[in-house]
């Protein structure tokens, strides 16, 4: 991939990101944050490439293990906790029925 292509991708992603994220209401800013947090866990993809490489020496193995571990915790933790939060958001309760917790 050429540098120009990469820059193009970066600019398009930034534009789409600002467009989409500016529409997220204040109410959902915490899930937005933990959700995007999970998304930067995509770094685990890079970590896998580094750790799985054949030529890896000790430095690469150790830094790779740390990176994959961190990245995996980041991804799983981020998506799980965001889901937990979002399932709590609900509309006005259905008319009297049960205790609702």
């Amino acid at each position: 991939m050429s540098f120009i292509t990469e820059i193009l991708i970066l600019m398009l992603a930034a534009w789409i990101g600002v467009e989409v994220i500016s529409k997220v209401p204040q109410m959902l800013h915490t899930p937005l944050m933990s959700g995007t947090n999970a998304m930067h866990g995509v770094i685990v993809v890079g970590a896998i490439l580094v750790l799985g490489a054949a030529a890896g020496g000790v430095v690469q193995t150790i830094s790779g293990i740390v990176a994959v571990g961190f990245g995996a915790a980041n991804v799983v933790g981020g998506f799980v906790v965001t889901d937990r939060m979002l399932q709590m958001f609900r509309r006005r309760p259905e008319p009297p029925k049960g205790d609702g917790g």
Binding site: E6, V20, P25, M27, S34, V75, G77, F89
Partner: protein, 464 residues
């Protein structure tokens, strides 16, 4: 199609899932689906990467992923909603740490091929992700320590702070430039250690009240570090996802700074908040009176009101009073009173935190109003209940040009007919600023633990 093309297609699908996920986060009805779709995108990306021909050794990957993933899942399932800012800080730090580790590894791999200068793109991207990733890791861990109260929440200051930070930053940049031109493995480790130090000393002086801004800012940093890693590895998905996160973090940082009327620079370098309390005095120096109200009197007032607005602050969450407040709201709605919650953008310890805490207590989201929606309603509101909030309802922010809060947008509760403030004592808010609202003739105070006061109030309402 070759395998490389297939992987690129998988990355494209993953990127599309991320964007769609963020798009669906714009409404609470579709938000959960959005998060799910983003998670599917992530799964596709990880599978695609695992079949990449460059990946030949799976043992360590599997072990590290299982250990990391299980810890992440366990913590995410157990964490209390009040502790959400801490968790977000930690996850954020992990992402930053991973980016820095990848940079170290890539730099080392380069050294195996040549000990000369790195290409410009590779040099900038490796150094950027090593430095910013490390700053984000250390900064997030300090933020975690402050939020978890392992470290004091007040600003920690020492002499020549800015000078030391500046010198540290310049040293790091100088070493990074040198290490880009001449391969030197230990030097990169030194850079990483110095960047960790910089991240720590940059966040230590920041007060608890400014944490929403700091967390949003560190979130943006990690996103950009991930994007830089994408440049170093020539990986389009990392660039896209990293920039999406960077954009989100930057927007939230701006929103939070605006909601507190503070520039990012003044948050990062200001050491603001957490001062001692002072007793309110009028211009002539006498102590101003405060009027109290009993739960029984307040109950009667509430039941006969047409419109009641509740303003929750972080103190509500500290007192674990979300459930009793929801009970009170339900009771009043049953009696035909209109009830809504007005939420200031910086209520809580991170953007949108209060909404999550109320959602957890089963408050329907259509009862939650943002500041812009709530402010025009206050003049038609009979009673405002301010629970555990202080600075965000301080009229001095609007009226007193000499107040440190001046210019911060507030919930204009003093426009309502009656105001009742639930408060433990007369202590000041995080900004350490006196609040004249408490001494307003239309204001009554209900002193005590918010949870207990609300329980008494609920009983009193039932008795009316």
């Amino acid at each position: 199609m070759s395998r490389v093309d297939l992987i690129e297609v998988a990355y494209l699908i993953a990127a599309f899932c991320f964007v769609l996920g963020l798009r669906w986060l714009s409404s609470p009805r579709t938000a959960r689906r959005g998060n799910g779709v983003a998670a599917i995108g992530m799964t596709i990306a990880i599978i695609a990467t695992l079949v990449d021909q460059r990946v030949v050794d799976y043992v360590w990957i599997v072990i590290a992923a299982i250990v990391g993933g299980s810890i992440g899942a366990l913590v995410a399932r157990r964490v209390q909603m009040t502790a959400m800012p801490q968790l977000v800080a930690v996850l954020n730090g992990l992402g930053g740490g991973a980016a820095a580790m990848i940079a170290v590894s890539e730099y080392h791999a380069h050294g195996a091929v040549s000990t000369g200068a790195l290409g410009a793109v590779l040099a900038v991207s490796i150094m950027f992700s090593a430095i910013v990733g490390s700053i984000s890791f250390a900064g997030s861990m300090i933020a975690f320590g402050k939020l978890q109260e392992l470290l004091p929440g007040r600003p920690i200051t020492w002499p020549a702070q800015k000078l030391i930070n500046g010198a540290l930053a310049i040293t790091i940049l100088g070493l990074a430039a040198y290490a880009s031109l001449n391969f030197n493995d230990p030097l990169l480790w030194i850079i990483v250690v110095l960047a960790l130090l910089l991240g720590a000393v940059a966040v230590l002086p920041i007060g608890g009240a400014d944490m929403p801004v700091v967390i949003a800012f560190l979130n943006a940093c990690t996103g950009l570090a991930a994007a830089a890693t994408g440049f170093a590895l020539g990986n389009s998905l990392l660039i896209i996802a990293g920039v999406l996160v960077g954009a989100s973090g930057t927007l939230l940082t701006q929103l939070m700074s605006k909601a507190m009327n503070r520039s990012l620079a003044s948050v990062l370098f200001g050491a603001f908040g957490g001062g001692g309390g002072v007793v309110a005095t009028s211009a002539s120096g006498e102590v101003l009176p405060v009027l109290e109200i009993s739960p029984a009197d307040l109950a009667a007032q509430l039941v006969y009101a047409r419109r009641v607005m509740i303003v929750p602050g972080y103190g509500l969450a500290v007192a674990q009073a979300q459930h009793p407040v929801r009970e009170l709201a339900d009771l009043l709605i049953e009696r035909g009173v209109q009830v809504a919650f007005a939420i200031h953008p910086v209520a809580g310890r991170m953007p949108g935190h209060m909404n999550v805490l109320l959602a957890e207590a089963d408050v329907p989201y259509d009862q939650l109003l943002e500041m812009e929606e709530a402010n025009p309603d206050f003049p038609q509101t009979d009673v405002v209940l301010v629970i555990g909030a202080n600075d965000v309802v301080n009229p001095a922010a609007r009226d007193d040009p000499n107040s440190p809060l001046h210019g911060m947008p507030i919930l204009e509760v003093d426009q309502a007919e009656h105001v009742v403030v639930f408060k433990r004592s007369m202590a000041t808010g995080f900004a350490g600023v006196e609040n004249l609202l408490f001494h307003d003739p239309k204001t009554r105070m209900l002193f005590g633990d918010a949870r207990k006061s609300l329980a008494q109030l609920v009983q009193a309402v039932q008795a009316v």
